[in-house]
């Protein structure tokens, strides 16, 4: 085999590898995109019926309750227009508090309850997760629109 042929073969192999890699990356990328929905959107049925997504809003005051096993917790997330019930098994993050912003990732179960496998509350006293803030703003805007009708 001449050096030129060898080089051509290697370049071709490299290109094929590159194409395969790109296809795999794109596929993996698409299947791991997690979309965000507000409680209002979930209520309207815009969220996926199966598969993970994120919700965000405020933890409703007085809604946090611990199930008898001591590990499952339930709380309600509100965007001030609509409310949804969330269940989570495990230890809540330190910054999780009633009346504060929260983002949860998980999926809807058969009863329409949101089963979270991750609860994010990375805020401090004066900081709200952007997703939670966006949910509140969307609900507020919708209300304002209805008011002007």
């Amino acid at each position: 085999m001449k050096a030129r042929h060898k080089r051509f073969g290697l370049i071709a192999a490299g290109l094929i590898l590159l194409v395969i890699a790109t296809v795999l990356i794109t596929k993996s990328f698409r299947s791991n995109l997690v979309f965000f929905f507000t409680p209002t959107q979930v209520e309207k049925g815009e969220a996926p019926k199966s598969g993970n997504f994120r919700i965000g809003g405020l933890v409703e005051n007085g809604s946090l309750k611990r199930l008898p096993d001591g590990l499952h917790v339930q709380f309600r997330v509100t965007d001030t227009a609509k409310v949804m019930l969330v269940q989570y098994k495990g230890i809540l993050p330190d910054l999780f508090k009633e009346g504060k912003g929260v983002v949860a990732e998980g999926k809807l179960n058969a009863n329409g309850m949101f089963e979270a496998d991750q609860v994010l509350a990375k805020h401090d006293e004066n900081y709200m997760p952007p997703e939670a803030a966006a949910a509140l703003k969307a609900a507020k805007d919708a209300k304002a629109k209805e008011g002007t009708k």
Partner: protein, 662 residues
Amino acid sequence: MIPEIGQFSLILAFCFAIVQGTLPLIGVWKNNAALSNLAVPAARTQFAFIAITFICLDYSFFANDFSVLYVASNSNSHLPLAYRLAALWGGHEGSMILWVSILALWTMAVTLFAKSLPETFRIRLISVMGMVSIGFLAFIIFTSNPFERLIPAALDGRDLNPLLQDPGMVFHPPVLYMGYVGFSVAFAFAIAALLDGRLDIAWARWTRPWTTVAWVFLTLGIAFGSKWAYYELGWGGWWFWDAVENASFMPWLVGTALIHSLAVTEKRDAFKVWTVLLSICAFSLSLLGTFLVRSGVLTSVHAFATDPRRGVFILLYLVVVIGGALLLFAWRAPKVGLGEKFDVVSRESMLLTNNVVLVAAAGSVLLGTMYPLLMDALGAGKISVGPPYFDAVFVAIMAPGLFLMGLGPLAKWKKASLPEISLRLRVAAVISVVSALLVPLIMGKLTLMTAVGVFLGIWVISTSLILLRNRIKTRQAATPNLLENIKGIPLAFYGMLLAHLGIGVFIMGVTLVKGYESEQDLRMDKNDVAKAGNLNFRFDGTQDIPGPNYMSTQGTFTVTSNGKVVAVLQPEKRFYPVQGSMMTEAAIQPGVVKDMYVSLGEPLENGAWSVRIYIKPFVQWIWAGAILMALGGVLALTDKRYRILNKKAAKEAQEALEAFEA
């Protein structure tokens, strides 16, 4: 008074940065020695004023001067002294001060230690660093003044975020910034070379140690951060593919590529344009990281700023610096030239593959990090990219590169023979395959991921050891004494070896902890016993202990194995009254083979607690690997060959220049 002095010297520093960043460049261009000689004094004066600024700000923290808004927002009179001083970089404004201080430090180092560079080149280098500094100082002065007064003064400060009250806070940010900002030297080298239109072996030799130092700091900084997240966040994770982590990881990947590419440029006078491009990219990604972390676009404990003006400013700055550098690159790169040719199978081609793999990996991380931000900015909805994407894609891209890591160092420059290399590595191949099957079986279960991971880890380690044996063997004829033989091998070689071993150790750690960690969330009453493998965790109840600025509830867990006590773990739940926040302090018994990890969840009725118990096999190997990599970098730096060659290269360059001028 002190804050005003700080502010004033910040403005003076800005003025000197402008002098340093513009006049010497004009001087070199117009051949005006008076102007070009300003570079060094201007840089040193700038350093002095920035040092004064830094000291003034830290003094305000030391003295609890709550009439300074920034101090009042980030400190508290009850905060322990070390954290008070570190609180300087606990917020947005101060971390910008840290950034420019470190830039000034690096510039100062260049004026002191880069004496062997040809005069014009050195002046350009310092001047480019001055330009970088102008942007950041303007940013601080016009949008994020840390000395702003609070009138009337606060009685006490709002305290440092409890998450940040940890020894990690003292080390992690400065070390990480030393790395980030250190790439500015390589960047300035590249820009100066483009302006010069000349890039030769001597250039690569000058740049290499600077880049390596920055890389060592960045490696350590990332490792510190990862370790900190591991014990402080209380959830036992060591890497979350969080945008902020990615922001530091991308420059690391490109920086690693740069180190290897520089080696080729120095040894073979090849990859020249590529090296310049990587230098620009590494620093651009550092700037992008700063932008991501500091502009408030991210949801993270790292994001302090929410002022959109700052975001716009940094974005503009990015466009000017990166865009300008790339334009200059497009214009001048053809002058630099591609460099020497090489065969398809050669050390050069292997290193090229290494570079492609590293850059592709950085690209995939960039895609996952920036895509959600881009979609959000375009109003296309809020999305996030899950860690499984990063795990899958990153591993898939890196795996072939790691395999080639075994072959590369054995390949000859210019033209190598694959059959010869494979013959040398057959022992390593056998060892790796056997361990890939054996180790998972010993650990309990065999999966594809663990088998591949162990194979790659052992492959990297065993090929490195074979490389060492090979080196010793080829030198045996000349130096029969084994000890002298080992001593005679240049330190740079050992540095490479150590860094590669570090990668192997790191891969083993990641594979084994991912494959075999166990996690339980439990409800435990006093005297309850939880089982994890052959270990029993007994909960002995809690007690309240006051801390300096918090109240702590400390639990005690006695861990026994076959009736013998192996560890007593005391996790805490701390309450910080100033910010009204709770913090989980995990208790960890680290070990070579496994970590035992317990953290307290929440109190339940009758003294019971929800508790999280982890067993993390080989997790310490992750950071041990990173430390080995950094040590490898340090060894490579101490190679005496450098200093001698540096002097020689300087002499040659000076002679060439004199001959040219004559």
